[in-house]
Structures are given as structure tokens and as C-alpha cells.
Amino acid sequence: MNFQFIKKMYYGDIPDEPGNGAAYQTKPDTAAWPLWEVFIRSKRGLDHKHAGSLKAADATMAIENARDVYTRRQEGVSIWVVESKYIHASNPDEAESFFDPAEDKVYRHPSFYELPDEVKHM
């Protein structure tokens, strides 16, 4: 398959022209820090919500980095971090069998039940 057809460039998509003398030798990075997922509670009473990810050598540093990266504008009052490799996710290929069966169980929702107007607040 050739990818000629996406050669059209937009702003932010810079042509891959070979640069002048741009053939530097680089050393492979042997000290890559692991990736962490960051969850922030934006204010008391709310759940922690996924804010993004970052790199850190250990959990202490991950929390501090999260503080510096994701709460510079007072976005949080509490931080959770978990190393990304420990996150288990459902498989999108199985999304249909996972989530579609809930579709026809309308009786689970309160709006399914019609009550006389006299019954207020139920």
C-alpha cells in the first residue's frame, strides 16, 4: 500500500524534506522513565478524573510531576497516579457484546415508569 495520497500538507503537518546535514548520530536513550496515568480531583466532592499522562522514575516523583504539569492553574485538590502498565482495559473489538446488551433494558431507567402527576418527587 502506498501512502502518497496523504502527502497533502496542512498547518502543523510539515513536509518531510531531508534537511541539510540533518544526519546527526544519536545515542539510544537507555534511561527512559516509565509512563504514568494521572487522575485529578478538581474539587472536594467530585471523583478523580483522568487528566493525562507523564513520565516519572517513581511514584513520589510521578505525583510531584503531576502537580507541576497538571495543576499549575489550580485544577486540583488531590492527585492519584498509577503506572500505565498496570491499567487493564476492555477490548474494543468486544464492545458490541460488552455494551450493546444494555441497550434494550429500558426498564432500568426511571423514565420508563409512568406515574400519575399526583405522585410528586419519586
Partner: protein, 316 residues
Amino acid sequence: MTTIHPLEINFQDKIDQEAKIEPKDWMPDAYRKTNLRQISQHAHSEVVGMLPEGNWITRAPSLKRKAILIAKVQDEAGHGLYLYCAAETLGQSREQMIDDLHSGKAKYSSIFNYPTLTWADMGAIGWLVDGAAILNQVMLCRTSYGPYARAMVRICKEESFHQRQGFETLLVLSKGTEEQKAMCQDAINRWWWPSLMMFGPKDSESTNSDQSMKWKIKRKSNDELRQNFVDMIAEQIKLLGMTLPDSHLKWNEQRGSYDFGEINWDEFWNVVKGNGPCNKERIDARRKAHEEGAWVREAALAYADKKNKIKTVSAA
């Protein structure tokens, strides 16, 4: 005749229905590659973009301006970080991307290969360069790849102060001494054309079919965005009492837009190819920071390993 795989039909359906594509979803290889390329280029641009402005932090002319500039350059580091993380969800490590930047394989926005010569450049960059970037970024908040769109939403929230502070910096200069006014006009003269180049080649230059639009990675063409930008800036500059360095700039009643002159495409391609005034300095600076940081990253990792082992032993 090529047959289209059912997975691909399903994929395109999602996009047509404005559903976001998420990292674990099936996606065409070209979609993955295009996104990876674009997001990592965008990340590199943020990080390299710290250099021309960082250049003025120690010389900022007041403590307030110094604080604003530091916060702004720091934001750019954050934006680079969000974008590297978004790109990582497509299966390439940040280290590999950085390596590609340093080897010259990966590109970043050419605008950062121009030098910042006076304090007024801090204003011109905020107003023109960030102004151009914001047009693109607002559009990208709706891009089809979920992690990219989410990173852009966060970035746009933080970015809105950048353009405002740039304009305000110039506004103060434009009302200042004769020297400051001259400094202001000079910076606008130097940054105007490179800002227009940021939108990339003309639409007519490209004869290829337009997959990025179909996949909703992009939603507006280069020329559309460039025109939006010219129309916006041509009005705002009146408030500064300055002029744009283009004798062809003229309001076109019929189109309801400004006409403007031809970009120097020869310069555009040369800067892309690495012949810009600061291409070498920028990459050298990034490589130096990365190489001199290697021992720091190693030490932190070694220390974390030691602590982990102690924990494991005591838990056993």
C-alpha cells in the same frame, strides 16, 4: 479494483458520525502514521518553540514581563508533554520521537528557526505566531483521534493567554518612546511573512486526494486558515497603529476578505530543508539538553530500582 475491508468501512462510519477514534480501536495504518507524524511534529514544535522565547527570559525588561514570559514558555513545555503522551498512544515511545527530532528525521514548525532579536519579538511571537497557531488548534480540538483532540482542548484552554499577552506587549511598545515604536514595527515586519508560511503550501500546490480531511484529522484547508488569519490580523493591527509589510494587502469588498501578496515560497522550502537562520542552533540546543540530562534520568531510575527492590524484599 481494490476492495475495502469491512473494518475500514466501520472505521470510516465512526468518523462520519463524529465518533472519536480511540487508541485501541482498529485504524488504517496510514491513519495511525499520519496522526503519529502530525502529533509528534506538533510536540516537537512546542518544545523547540521554547528556545526562541526562552532566549529573552533573563533579559525581560520588567519583573512582571519576566514572570509572564517564564509562565508562557513553561506552558509550551507542558503542551509538548501532553502531545508526546497523545502520540505515545499510537505505539511509539517519546524517546524514539525525540531521537527522530535530534537526528533530523522529524520536523517541527519552521517558524522557530527564525531568531528573536529584540524584546518586541516576544510580543510579535505571541500575537502573530500564537495567533496563527490558535486558529489551527481550535480546529484540532475537534480532530477525530481522541487523545489528540483531548490534548488540544487542554492546550487551547491554556493558550488563550499567550496571544493576548503578545498583543498587549506590542500595545505598550506602540504607545511608548520612538525607539519602542520602531522596535515594534520592526518585529512585525520580520514575523509577518514567516507567520503566513506557518499555514503551509497553497491548496493548489497539492494535487493529491485529501485523506486528512476525509478522516477528519483536519477540518479546514491551509488557504482557508491563512485567509482567516490575515482577516483577523489586518483588523487588529489598526489598534496598534502599525502596518503590515505587504503593499498588496487590501480589503476586497466582493470576497469580504483581505487580499494579500505572494509568500516567498523559495524561502519557505529552504527553511523547511534546514537552511533557516537558526535550524542548527535549535537542534543543537535540544540535543545538548537531552544528552546532558542522560545521567540525571539514569540516576533517578537507578534510585527508583533500588527502592523497589528493598520494598519487594521486605514484602516477601
